[in-house]
Structure formats: C-alpha cells, structure tokens
C-alpha cells in the first residue's frame, strides 16, 4: 500500500522538532512513524500519521514548509532475511531506493519498512507480485 508521508523543513535549532510534534499532537494527530534526515545546516522531518492531509494543512497554517510524499510501506514477516530479499528484488528491477526506515504498527504489532522510490505504484505492484504484503491499515 502506498502511504502519504509528511516531510517538514526544519533548521538545526533546538526546539524545532518538538514544535512540530507538539502542534500536531495537540490537534489529535497520531504519529505512527518518525525519522529525521539531517545535515550540518538543516533537517527534514519525515513521518507517517493517521491523518496526513489534515496534518499538512495544519503545518502550513503554522508557517512550516511541508509536503506530502507517496511512499511504499511493506509488512515484514518474521522470517530472517526478508529485508535483504526485498532490497534485492528492488535492485534487480532497477528500482532505486532514495531512503528507507522502519516502524512498528502498534495495532498489529508488526514491523513495516517504508521505501521512498521514484514510482511507488510500480514498486508496490512489483512487491505484491512477489508475495510481499504492502497493506497497512494505519491511515484513516
């Protein structure tokens, strides 16, 4: 399944991170996954929430630069080496992964790995055809 990831630009300043999370939590938005990509100068917060469109509107109203990015979330089964198999499958099919991160969907108690690729629909189809579950019932 394809999820809408929220990305937010933050300066590398103390407090920027907690400002973003506090504003969304106050509005009742539930965080499912959270990761930070940072350089010496700035950071990009990336997260999955239960209501991404509402979160984006709220962030923009509060003056943040933010965007929605479609990403593929793949359910991990308990077998060892499943991540390696996914990466090999993508690589064999020339799908370049820009970045990835993992989270645990609490309702299901299962781990998911999020992949950022150029064509998420094609990547999701490829993964599903190879028997990987890309569904996640975490977004309203």
């Amino acid at each position: 399944m394809i999820l809408d990831q929220i990305s937010v630009f933050v300066e590398n300043k103390p407090g920027a991170l907690s400002d973003v999370t506090a504003q969304l939590s106050e509005a009742g938005i539930d965080f499912k996954a959270f990761t930070v990509a940072d350089t010496a100068e700035f950071g990009i917060l990336r997260f999955i929430v239960d209501a991404p469109k509402k979160a984006l509107t709220l962030l923009k109203l509060n003056g943040w630069v933010a965007s929605l990015t479609p990403v593929v979330a793949v359910k991990m089964n308990d077998e060892p080496g499943s991540l390696a198999r996914i990466l090999k499958l993508l690589s064999d099919n020339s799908v370049q992964v820009e970045y990835m991160y993992a989270f645990v969907a609490q309702e299901e108690g299962r781990a998911y790995v999020v992949f950022r690729v150029a064509d998420p629909a094609a990547a999701a189809a490829l993964l599903e055809a190879s028997g990987f579950a890309t569904s996640a019932s975490i977004v309203r």
Binding site: Q5, S7, V10, E11, A37, R46, W64, V65, E98, Y99
Partner: protein
C-alpha cells in the same frame, strides 16, 4: 524645437522627439560634447567660486580642458559639497535670471536646492519629451502624471515633456487613488507616469474595484525608485501595458536624464546635455564601457546650476551596444545599487541588489539576509535564504543540489563565494515590516 510628436501608428515608423540628437553619429556627438564642455568649464570657472577654487587647487585652468577627453582632469562634485554650499554656493547666474527652484526629497539634514533658467527648464522638458516619445507617446495620447508636483521634480518634468510631445496632459499629482482611477477611466489615460510602487498599487486597486477592464493605458513611465525586472513584469501584466524605466536627479535636472526605449534593456542617456562617466567609487578612476561602478554626470548645457562630474552614488554600467530603437545615445543599465549600500567583502565590492537579482533569477524569494563577520582576520560571508514550498524536497540530495546551483550563481555574479544557509520560512528578521538585509558584525 520640433512641434510635438505625430502618431506614426499607421506607417509603423518609430517616433523620436529630437531625431537629430537622438540618432547622432558618435563623431558628431563627441564634437558637440567637446564644444559644449569647453564653454561650460569657462562659464563655471568664471561664476562658481567653489569650482574655481577646486580647479586652482588642482593646478587647472579652463584652457586645460580642450575637449571631452580632458574631462577626467576635473575634480568631482559630491552631495556634501552641495550641502556645504547651501543654498547659493553652486549658483552660476544671478537669481534675476533664474525662473524656478526644485529640491531633493532628502529627509535628513540639509536639502539640495537646484536653480533653473528658462533655458534649463526647456532642455529638461525636452529630455522628458524624448522619454514619452520613446514610450510610444504622441499628440494623440493622454498622459496621466501621478508623480508629485511641487519641489519634487517628477511631476513638473513629465508635465513639461508631455506638453512638448503635444499629448493631453493630466496633472494628477500623487495620492487619492479613487480619483486617479476615475480620471484614468473617464478620460481614457493612455500613458501613466509615476513611481513603480504606485503603479503596482494602482494596478491592484483597479483589479480590486473591478475597473481594470475600463482602463485604456498602453504604457507607463516609472522612475524615482529602484525596481526589479520581476516588478516590471508584474506591473505590465497587472495593468496590461509596457512599462518603461526613467532616471534622473534634481542635482542634474530631474527625470529624463536617461530614459528607456522599446528594447527595454537599459536607459538612453541624454548625453548631449548630461555627459555620463562610470568611475571606481574607491579610487575615482574612470572605468571603461561595460564596467560596473559609480555613475557621474557633467552638465554640458545647463546655465544656472551646472554641476561638473557630480557623483550620483548610483551603481550601474554604460553600454554603446547598438540598440534596436535606432537611438545612438549611450545606454545605462538598470540601477544596480548605491555606493552607500556597497559592502567590501574580502576586498571585493558587493551590492545587496546583486544578491537579490541572483535569488529572483534562480526562483527564490527576494527575502534574504547577509551576515558578515570576521574570524581570524578573514571576512565570513553568509547569505541566508528562506525555504519555500517550491524549493523544498523530502530528499536531502535534491535540496543540496539546489543549494549548490544557487551558490554557483552567486559566485559567478559576485566574484566571491558566500556560504548559503537555508532558513525556516518567515525567520529572517524584519523591523517595522522591512527586512534587515545586512548584518555586519565585523569590527574593523
């Protein structure tokens, strides 16, 4: 003087107000300028005490200036010189021969007052008439002048020029936007003269009040403040016109010292009256064509207040590249800043407006801040730019690529490399609504 400018729309010919001077060959122009300069230097030496003293101090006599090629020998005149000699020190004729006073809009300290004989007014008007004709103005136009009238030269200058062209002149003066729009629609104004910011405001108001469709404007002549190419495009789109730049200053006469033509790539200088030079603001050395530096003017024909080598503090460059309008008058580029704003960073002259140009051309908002400091005896130079939705990406790599491209563009424009810092939106300090552009922490 020619009797107005007739519409040549049917024949498609370009119209000039003073074809002879505006299309003069280089040799003829140089001869004319030389002849006029020699006369002017004699007049000034005889009648203006501070000039006589300056020339004597430099060991110069009027006879040492034999032509325009000797101009560089003469001393400069600065705004401070004029302030010191306020009000009559640079007056070159008895007041009984003067017919008008205009004054600069300076808000602090002593103003500069300039004196005009009827001849001085006539030549100034003729320069404004050249500008109106270059913007397509003829005896069939309605020229709507929304520059202030009074001590400020904007209103009187364009008013006089419009009369000479033979246009119907609407002396609106500034302010009262509702009345401006009413006259503009009822009397079908075709050429608007005002500051670019007021033109932008009138455009917005015309859209807001729904009268935009009734507006018949075809052109605008906008000056008296610096504006960007982007602002030109916005005004042109908003009002459905062609927008032309015009330049001038009270010390030299008023608007019309230079004016833009249909090519819109710079302003033709009325060099038969006002001889332009570009100098290095630090050394005073005259710079060659196409070099950027401080603009200096010498009045070749004015009688009452004839300044020699007056330093404008405006930064631009001159070009004699052939112009599609046919005029041979030298062109000055859009103003690139003021020597007052000039920063010297690691020995290189940098103007905040250059940074603004790069940002706009690269698709960034013109909201930026320059932070200068000195670490281990070396200047640090940082340009902070606010992040926008357009520049943002969820990928670090993409943002860094854009940052690199911006850095390369800045380096190529400035000659030195700043550090670029992407800042959060609306994080750049503003004071009273205006952004603070430069923070110089260097202790020198």
């Amino acid at each position: 003087m020619p009797e107005g400018v007739r519409s040549k729309e049917r024949t498609g010919e370009l119209a000039y107000y003073q074809e002879k001077e505006e299309l003069m060959s280089r040799d003829e122009m140089t001869a004319l300028q030389s002849e006029r300069l020699v006369k002017q230097v004699a007049h000034v030496y005889a009648n203006v005490a501070p000039y006589r003293k300056k020339m004597q101090d430099a060991g110069l006599e009027p006879g040492d200036v034999k032509g325009i090629e000797d101009l560089h020998k003469l001393p400069f005149t600065t705004k401070d010189d004029l302030k010191e000699a306020y009000p009559y020190g640079y007056l070159a004729l008895p007041l009984s021969q003067c017919v008008r006073i205009q004054s600069t809009s300076g808000t602090t300290g002593r103003r500069v007052v300039a004196f005009y004989t009827q001849h001085d007014i006539d030549l100034w008007d003729s320069c404004c008439a050249r500008s109106i004709a270059a913007a397509g103005g003829t005896n069939e136009d309605v020229v709507h002048v929304s520059y202030g009238y009074g001590l400020f030269t904007g209103g009187p200058g364009l008013n006089g020029g419009s009369h000479l062209v033979g246009s119907l002149t609407l002396p609106m003066s500034s302010g009262n936007t509702e009345r401006q729009l009413q006259f503009m629609t009822d009397l079908e104004s075709t050429i608007l003269c005002c500051t670019p910011s007021y033109a932008a405001f009138l455009g917005e108001s015309a859209h807001d009040t729904g009268v935009i469709d009734k507006i018949k404007l075809k052109a605008g002549i906008f000056g008296a403040e610096a504006w960007s190419e982007e602002m030109r495009r916005d005004i042109e789109k908003s009002l459905g016109i062609k927008a032309y730049d015009i330049y001038g200053l009270t010390e030299i006469s008023g608007p019309g010292v230079s004016f833009e033509c249909s090519e819109q790539t710079g302003m033709h200088v009325c060099e038969d009256h006002f001889y332009p030079e570009i100098i290095d603001p630090a050394t005073g050395a005259v710079l060659p064509e196409e070099s950027k530096g401080e603009l200096v003017f010498t009045c070749l024909t004015k009688q009452a207040f004839p300044l020699l080598r007056y330093r404008t503090r405006d930064i631009t460059m001159l070009t004699r590249a052939q112009c599609s309008c046919g005029r041979t008058l030298v062109k000055m580029k859009r103003l690139m800043g003021r020597t007052d704003d000039m920063l010297i960073i690691r020995g290189v002259n940098v103007f905040p407006s250059q940074i603004e140009t790069v940002l706009i051309n690269s698709g960034y908002p013109a909201n930026y801040q320059i932070i200068l400091d000195r670490v281990n005896h070396t200047d640090t130079f940082e340009v902070q730019v606010e992040m926008t939705d357009e520049m943002f990406s969820d990928e670090v790599r993409v943002i860094e690529q854009k940052e690199k491209a911006l850095l390369a563009a800045l380096k190529s424009m400035l000659g030195i490399s700043p550090k670029v810092k992407l800042a959060a939106p609306r994080s750049i300090t503003r004071s009273e609504g205006k952004a603070v552009r430069v923070i110089d922490k260097r202790k020198i």
